[in-house]
Amino acid sequence: MKKQNKLRHYLGKQEIAGYVFILPFIIGFLAFMAIPMFLSFVFSFTDYDILSKPAFIGINNFKNMFFNDPKFWKVFKVTLKYVIFSVPLKLLMALLVALLLVRNTKLSGFYRAVYYLPSIIGSSVAVAILWRRMFASDGVINSILQSIGIPSNIPWLGRESTAIWTLIILTVWQFGSSMLIFLSGIKQIPVTLYESAKVDGAIGIQRFFKITLPMLTPTIFFNLINQLINGFMAFTQSYIITQGKPRDSTLFYTVYMYQNSFTYNKMGYGSAMAWFMILILSVLTFILFKTQKYWVYYEAEN
């Protein structure tokens, strides 16, 4: 009896309980991820063509990447541009639509489904054909522009200045996942807060800025981090729709990394690219985590 109590007390300590709860993750991480991750890190210092044994070449991959490969910087810039525009636009869109759809009407379920649908088709091959057709010089987008009086026969996908935008628009169009997370975030806001606000006389817009927005910051934070990572890791749009054309203006970082690893048989170089991206992402994520205390509001901590 005494022993049991002791055990219970021991396990009740946060220090121990924490590990008990995250144990599945630790086991999974060590069993399935740690070794492959470590190996890919090692590969980044080797010349490795997958079929034969890797040969250690020090930091040559990184040197080549930074100093001898102009295409590396090109794809880096393309990806950066894509992230800078697509991430905020997508989040803004997702948030606005989530606020629009939080109303409960008879058609709510239908609306939510319809707005979520584009995200369902995700990276299906059909999307490639579809998007190419939408933005063709004789496609739907140009006919719409013409019908509202803007004469247009722009080959959107054929011009360096516009091609990347078709991919950004595709990403923004698939805002469904972020929207869903916002929706459930809004749903989680305690009713009592709105009730007390009512007593205080706050209405409409005020209520949004005083309650909804601050209470939603953990969700916004999550979506931001997540979209940032997704943005840098974006692959399929570029790979199946544009293949980087025209003139590599839509060639994403991960696609070039993949080409190096599997088409050019330079797995070592590809791994170096992957770890450089991880470094960039880690720094960005770290900075964002540090800024949390200025703008993210956690109910539990206050």
Partner: protein, 449 residues
């Protein structure tokens, strides 16, 4: 200390067992499922390892890439083989082209390559370099694979150094496709092989009379063919840093792209000539297309119009006939295979059995056994017959194919595509294009070989 750890582990299991009741239920369900799977996997392993046991079946892995038609016919042909050869079980596996190479790389890295794999001319060298493919020569010498009806040149195409590491399973040739109705409307005739000047003039006439645009290919195949016409070989010129053929090719390309009849670069990019069904000839933007003969059927079907097929135009100053026959793909046997001889028997069946090839319907290319090809010709439908005749014509004039592509081909191919774009968009001159391609290819070859 030990006790503490034990208590910790035990209590963890205990706690998860009690606290998360529903989680546990699901966990048991799935672990039951896991058990089943694990059993299946280990069973496979056992049978594979048990090859010494005479009672057990011989299991051969057979991996290919392809589409719906190919998957269907190949499976049927293999089923027939299993019917005829008791004790041999062929486990089919198939993927799409892109996935195929990713997976084959993973399998090879894991020491798991299936016994028989489909191979491509551009990957032969790479897989040979790392010693992954078995030498087929002994099996050809002892008659396990009968090659008496196969032209010597076709066997040669799978030869690297002194080893035959791959057996072609069908012939293919570069081809020039054109829209017959457009050509007729313009009142021109397309000879069996145009010169580049003729091609240029015809393009202008067609543009004037019908408004249809012309596509001039600047991809790796086009450059390789052009170089052959100059009596040289592309990868050799790259390795030596020789600009001569490339310079001529790109000035020709420039001439074509400056012509009003040329398809504008923006529109070309928009159409995506990389996918057969979206090539600009399909919706009638252009009147012509460069492709391989095995794509003719798809092009015909997708256009729904009458499409002609002829040889790739030759340079007016060409010294050599550039046309060649190319194995559309190969079959190889894994060096790690435990049943090389049994696998070789399957290759013999695919090469020489008329019955088998009647099922396969020459979908992979014209059969390499001349008797089989002859027997098949009577059976196939008219579109196929066009390809048969074309391959026949090419066979009469073809010169030997270039050596299998060196390592670094993938990167060079991408480079050539990119430079072709640069030229069309007017970002580089013909001389710059040639210099970029040769210089960079040279350094790619140096670093990857």
């Amino acid at each position: 200390m030990k006790k503490k750890i034990f208590a910790f582990v035990f209590s963890t299991i205990f706690i998860f067992g009690t606290v998360v009741g529903c989680g546990n239920n699901n966990g048991t369900n799935s672990s039951g499922k896991q058990g089943e799977d694990a059993e299946v996997t280990s069973e496979n392993k056992e049978t594979e390892n048990d090859n010494n046991n005479e009672n057990s079946e011989i299991i051969l892995g057979f991996y290919w890439w392809g589409n719906q038609v190919r998957n269907d016919v190949t499976k049927r042909a293999l089923d027939l083989y299993m019917e005829q050869n008791e004790g041999v079980v062929i486990k089919p596996e198939f993927s799409d082209w892109g996935g195929y190479w990713d997976k084959l790389a993973a399998m090879t890295a894991g020491g798991n390559m299936p016994d028989i794999v489909q191979q491509d001319y551009s990957f032969l060298n790479q897989y040979n370099d790392s010693g992954q493919l078995a030498d087929l020569k002994p099996f050809m010498d002892d008659g396990t694979i009968d090659i008496s009806k196969v032209p010597e040149s076709i066997i040669e195409s799978g030869k690297i150094d002194d080893k035959i590491i791959a057996l072609s399973n069908g012939s293919n040739a570069p081809s020039f496709a054109y829209d017959k109705a457009v050509v007729e409307e313009a009142g021109v005739t397309i000879p069996l092989q145009m010169t580049m000047n003729e091609f240029y003039e015809i393009s202008e006439i067609i543009y004037e009379k019908t408004g249809k645009l012309t596509f001039f290919d600047t991809g790796i195949n086009a450059l390789q063919l052009y170089t052959r016409g100059c009596g040289s070989h592309m990868f050799e010129e790259f390795a030596e840093g020789d600009y001569s053929s490339s310079t001529k090719f790109y000035s020709l390309a420039k001439r074509f792209s400056d012509s009003p009849s040329a398809i504008p670069p923006e529109i070309l990019t928009e159409k995506d000539p990389g996918v057969i069904e979206t090539k600009p000839i399909i919706d009638g933007t252009t009147w012509n297309d460069f492709s391989f003969s095995n794509q003719y059927i798809s092009i015909s079907e997708a256009t729904g119009r009458d499409i002609g097929i002829t040889m790739i135009p030759i340079d007016d100053d060409a010294t050599t006939q550039p046309m060649f026959l190319k194995p559309s793909q190969f079959f190889s046997i894994a060096e790690t295979s435990d049943h090389k001889e049994e696998a070789a028997k399957v290759l013999d069946y695919i090469t020489n059995s008329i019955e088998c090839n009647k099922i396969l319907k020459a979908e992979r290319g014209i059969p390499i056994n001349t008797e089989v090809a002859e027997a098949l010709k009577a059976e196939v439908d008219p579109t196929f017959a066009v390809v048969f005749d074309y391959i026949n014509e090419v066979g009469k004039v073809a010169t030997p194919i270039d050596d299998p592509d060196p390592n670094g081909k993938g990167e060079i191919e991408q480079l050539i595509n990119r430079v072709g774009e640069d030229l069309r968009y007017g970002e580089v001159t013909a001389d710059e294009a040639a210099k970029n391609v040769v210089d960079q290819s040279k350094s790619i070859l140096e670093s990857s070989n």
